[in-house]
Protein backbone atom coordinates (compact mmCIF):
# COMPACT_ATOMS: atom_id res chain seq x y z
CA UNK A 1 0.00 0.00 0.00
CA UNK A 2 1.01 3.63 -0.47
CA UNK A 3 3.12 5.30 2.20
CA UNK A 4 2.22 8.88 3.09
CA UNK A 5 4.48 11.47 4.65
CA UNK A 6 2.42 14.26 6.17
CA UNK A 7 4.08 17.36 7.59
CA UNK A 8 4.07 18.95 10.07
CA UNK A 9 2.88 16.37 12.57
CA UNK A 10 1.72 19.10 14.93
CA UNK A 11 1.85 22.85 15.32
CA UNK A 12 0.67 25.59 17.61
CA UNK A 13 -0.29 28.73 15.71
CA UNK A 14 -1.44 32.22 16.51
CA UNK A 15 -4.93 33.24 15.45
CA UNK A 16 -5.03 35.16 12.19
CA UNK A 17 -2.07 33.32 10.71
CA UNK A 18 -2.01 30.53 8.11
CA UNK A 19 -0.51 27.05 8.11
CA UNK A 20 0.29 24.88 5.10
CA UNK A 21 0.22 21.11 5.51
CA UNK A 22 2.04 18.87 3.07
CA UNK A 23 1.13 15.38 1.93
CA UNK A 24 3.74 13.40 -0.01
CA UNK A 25 3.01 9.88 -1.31
CA UNK A 26 5.65 7.37 -2.33
CA UNK A 27 3.73 6.21 -5.40
CA UNK A 28 1.29 7.59 -7.91
CA UNK A 29 -2.27 7.69 -6.70
CA UNK A 30 -5.58 8.47 -8.30
CA UNK A 31 -7.46 10.31 -5.62
CA UNK A 32 -6.23 12.52 -2.80
CA UNK A 33 -8.48 13.81 -0.07
CA UNK A 34 -8.22 16.12 2.92
CA UNK A 35 -10.18 15.42 6.09
CA UNK A 36 -10.68 17.28 9.34
CA UNK A 37 -11.16 15.59 12.69
CA UNK A 38 -12.32 18.02 15.34
CA UNK A 39 -11.66 17.11 18.99
CA UNK A 40 -13.68 14.07 19.97
CA UNK A 41 -15.36 13.93 16.58
CA UNK A 42 -15.35 11.75 13.50
CA UNK A 43 -13.69 12.57 10.21
CA UNK A 44 -15.25 15.11 7.90
CA UNK A 45 -14.20 15.40 4.27
CA UNK A 46 -12.96 18.88 3.41
CA UNK A 47 -12.21 18.44 -0.28
CA UNK A 48 -10.90 16.28 -3.07
CA UNK A 49 -7.54 17.46 -4.35
CA UNK A 50 -7.55 17.41 -8.16
CA UNK A 51 -4.32 17.26 -10.09
CA UNK A 52 -3.67 20.47 -11.99
CA UNK A 53 -7.06 22.00 -11.28
CA UNK A 54 -9.11 23.47 -8.49
CA UNK A 55 -10.06 21.21 -5.63
CA UNK A 56 -13.64 20.04 -5.17
CA UNK A 57 -14.95 21.25 -1.82
CA UNK A 58 -17.62 19.72 0.35
CA UNK A 59 -20.51 21.71 1.74
CA UNK A 60 -19.34 24.04 4.47
CA UNK A 61 -15.77 24.35 3.22
CA UNK A 62 -14.53 27.09 0.88
CA UNK A 63 -11.39 27.69 -1.11
CA UNK A 64 -10.59 31.00 0.56
CA UNK A 65 -10.37 29.31 3.94
CA UNK A 66 -8.81 26.01 2.84
CA UNK A 67 -6.83 26.50 -0.38
CA UNK A 68 -5.54 23.21 -1.76
CA UNK A 69 -2.93 22.48 -4.38
CA UNK A 70 -2.06 19.25 -6.17
CA UNK A 71 0.64 19.85 -8.77
CA UNK A 72 1.25 16.16 -9.53
CA UNK A 73 0.07 12.62 -8.72
CA UNK A 74 2.10 12.29 -5.52
CA UNK A 75 1.91 15.64 -3.70
CA UNK A 76 -0.73 17.94 -2.25
CA UNK A 77 -0.92 20.80 0.21
CA UNK A 78 -3.74 22.11 2.37
CA UNK A 79 -3.56 25.60 3.81
CA UNK A 80 -5.66 26.63 6.78
CA UNK A 81 -6.02 30.39 6.38
CA UNK A 82 -6.74 33.18 8.85
CA UNK A 83 -6.93 30.67 11.66
CA UNK A 84 -9.16 30.88 14.70
CA UNK A 85 -9.33 28.58 17.73
CA UNK A 86 -12.26 26.77 16.05
CA UNK A 87 -9.79 25.49 13.46
CA UNK A 88 -7.99 23.47 16.14
CA UNK A 89 -8.29 19.93 14.78
CA UNK A 90 -6.40 17.03 13.31
CA UNK A 91 -6.07 17.34 9.55
CA UNK A 92 -5.51 14.14 7.58
CA UNK A 93 -4.51 13.41 4.03
CA UNK A 94 -5.91 10.28 2.39
CA UNK A 95 -5.10 8.63 -0.93
CA UNK A 96 -6.48 5.95 -3.21
CA UNK A 97 -3.81 4.06 -5.20
CA UNK A 98 -3.94 3.49 -8.95
CA UNK A 99 -4.83 -0.13 -8.29
CA UNK A 100 -7.02 -1.52 -5.58
CA UNK A 101 -9.76 -0.16 -3.37
CA UNK A 102 -7.84 0.66 -0.26
CA UNK A 103 -7.60 4.08 1.27
CA UNK A 104 -4.41 5.04 3.07
CA UNK A 105 -4.28 7.85 5.58
CA UNK A 106 -1.42 10.03 6.66
CA UNK A 107 -0.51 10.24 10.32
CA UNK A 108 -2.26 13.58 10.58
CA UNK A 109 -1.39 17.12 11.56
CA UNK A 110 -2.53 18.15 15.02
CA UNK A 111 -3.21 21.88 14.86
CA UNK A 112 -3.79 24.05 17.90
CA UNK A 113 -4.74 27.69 17.38
CA UNK A 114 -4.22 30.05 20.30
Amino acid sequence: SAVISQKPSRDICQRGTSLTIQCQVDSQVTMMFWYRQQPGQSLTLIATANQGSEATYESGFVIDKFPISRPNLTFSTLTVSNMSPEDSSIYLCSVVPLTGYGYTFGSGTRLTVV
Binding site: Y101, Y103, F105
Partner: protein
Protein backbone atom coordinates in the same frame (compact mmCIF):
# COMPACT_ATOMS: atom_id res chain seq x y z
CA UNK B 1 -26.80 10.08 0.28
CA UNK B 2 -24.66 7.64 2.20
CA UNK B 3 -24.34 7.42 5.96
CA UNK B 4 -22.89 5.24 8.66
CA UNK B 5 -24.07 4.71 12.22
CA UNK B 6 -22.04 3.37 15.09
CA UNK B 7 -24.64 3.10 17.83
CA UNK B 8 -22.22 2.68 20.71
CA UNK B 9 -19.91 5.49 21.79
CA UNK B 10 -17.97 3.12 24.02
CA UNK B 11 -17.44 -0.60 24.33
CA UNK B 12 -15.78 -2.09 27.40
CA UNK B 13 -14.65 -5.70 27.57
CA UNK B 14 -12.29 -7.82 29.62
CA UNK B 15 -9.16 -9.15 28.05
CA UNK B 16 -9.75 -12.55 26.52
CA UNK B 17 -13.45 -11.94 25.96
CA UNK B 18 -15.07 -11.51 22.55
CA UNK B 19 -15.18 -7.97 21.18
CA UNK B 20 -17.91 -6.63 18.90
CA UNK B 21 -18.14 -3.11 17.51
CA UNK B 22 -21.40 -2.40 15.69
CA UNK B 23 -21.88 -0.57 12.41
CA UNK B 24 -24.93 -0.05 10.21
CA UNK B 25 -24.99 1.80 6.93
CA UNK B 26 -27.28 3.46 4.46
CA UNK B 27 -26.26 3.74 0.82
CA UNK B 28 -27.86 3.52 -2.58
CA UNK B 29 -26.93 0.27 -4.23
CA UNK B 30 -24.14 -2.00 -3.09
CA UNK B 31 -21.52 -0.60 -0.74
CA UNK B 32 -17.83 -0.74 -0.13
CA UNK B 33 -17.35 -1.01 3.64
CA UNK B 34 -14.26 -0.37 5.73
CA UNK B 35 -13.03 -0.49 9.29
CA UNK B 36 -10.21 1.69 10.57
CA UNK B 37 -8.56 1.99 13.96
CA UNK B 38 -7.01 5.10 15.48
CA UNK B 39 -4.60 4.91 18.37
CA UNK B 40 -3.93 8.03 20.48
CA UNK B 41 -1.92 10.66 18.59
CA UNK B 42 -1.80 8.46 15.51
CA UNK B 43 -3.42 8.45 12.08
CA UNK B 44 -5.97 5.95 10.86
CA UNK B 45 -4.86 2.39 10.29
CA UNK B 46 -6.73 0.12 7.89
CA UNK B 47 -8.19 -3.06 9.42
CA UNK B 48 -10.33 -4.62 6.70
CA UNK B 49 -12.71 -3.99 3.86
CA UNK B 50 -15.69 -5.59 2.14
CA UNK B 51 -15.93 -5.17 -1.61
CA UNK B 52 -17.73 -8.25 -2.82
CA UNK B 53 -17.76 -12.01 -2.32
CA UNK B 54 -17.67 -13.82 1.01
CA UNK B 55 -19.68 -11.99 3.64
CA UNK B 56 -17.11 -12.79 6.32
CA UNK B 57 -14.02 -10.65 5.89
CA UNK B 58 -10.80 -11.26 7.78
CA UNK B 59 -8.41 -8.43 8.45
CA UNK B 60 -5.42 -7.27 10.43
CA UNK B 61 -4.64 -8.07 14.09
CA UNK B 62 -7.16 -10.94 14.26
CA UNK B 63 -10.18 -8.80 13.45
CA UNK B 64 -13.01 -9.89 11.19
CA UNK B 65 -16.30 -8.40 10.07
CA UNK B 66 -19.50 -9.82 8.67
CA UNK B 67 -21.41 -8.09 5.92
CA UNK B 68 -25.17 -8.54 6.36
CA UNK B 69 -27.06 -7.04 3.46
CA UNK B 70 -30.55 -7.64 4.87
CA UNK B 71 -29.67 -5.87 8.10
CA UNK B 72 -27.37 -3.34 6.39
CA UNK B 73 -24.74 -4.06 9.00
CA UNK B 74 -20.99 -4.60 9.05
CA UNK B 75 -20.07 -5.41 12.64
CA UNK B 76 -16.42 -5.74 13.62
CA UNK B 77 -15.46 -8.70 15.76
CA UNK B 78 -12.51 -10.22 17.51
CA UNK B 79 -12.83 -13.58 19.31
CA UNK B 80 -10.40 -12.73 22.11
CA UNK B 81 -9.65 -9.09 22.87
CA UNK B 82 -6.27 -7.79 23.99
CA UNK B 83 -5.48 -4.75 26.11
CA UNK B 84 -3.59 -3.41 23.11
CA UNK B 85 -6.86 -3.35 21.13
CA UNK B 86 -7.96 -0.36 23.20
CA UNK B 87 -8.42 2.41 20.64
CA UNK B 88 -10.95 4.38 18.60
CA UNK B 89 -12.64 2.42 15.81
CA UNK B 90 -14.30 3.91 12.74
CA UNK B 91 -16.61 2.28 10.24
CA UNK B 92 -16.75 3.87 6.77
CA UNK B 93 -18.80 3.38 3.60
CA UNK B 94 -18.78 4.44 -0.03
CA UNK B 95 -21.20 3.49 -2.74
CA UNK B 96 -20.25 1.19 -5.63
CA UNK B 97 -19.86 4.06 -8.02
CA UNK B 98 -17.12 6.30 -9.30
CA UNK B 99 -17.54 8.54 -6.27
CA UNK B 100 -14.55 7.73 -4.08
CA UNK B 101 -15.74 9.72 -1.08
CA UNK B 102 -15.83 7.88 2.23
CA UNK B 103 -18.42 8.60 4.89
CA UNK B 104 -17.34 7.81 8.43
CA UNK B 105 -19.29 6.79 11.48
CA UNK B 106 -18.92 8.74 14.69
CA UNK B 107 -16.46 6.24 16.09
CA UNK B 108 -16.51 3.77 18.98
CA UNK B 109 -13.98 3.89 21.78
CA UNK B 110 -12.96 0.39 22.81
CA UNK B 111 -11.46 -0.21 26.22
CA UNK B 112 -10.10 -3.64 27.04
CA UNK B 113 -9.34 -4.11 30.71
CA UNK B 114 -6.73 -6.51 31.96
Amino acid sequence: AQSVAQPEDQVNVAEGNPLTVKCTYSVSGNPYLFWYVQYPNRGLQFLLKYITGDNLVKGSYGFEAEFNKSQTSFHLKKPSALVSDSALYFCAVRPLSNDYKLSFGAGTTVTVRA
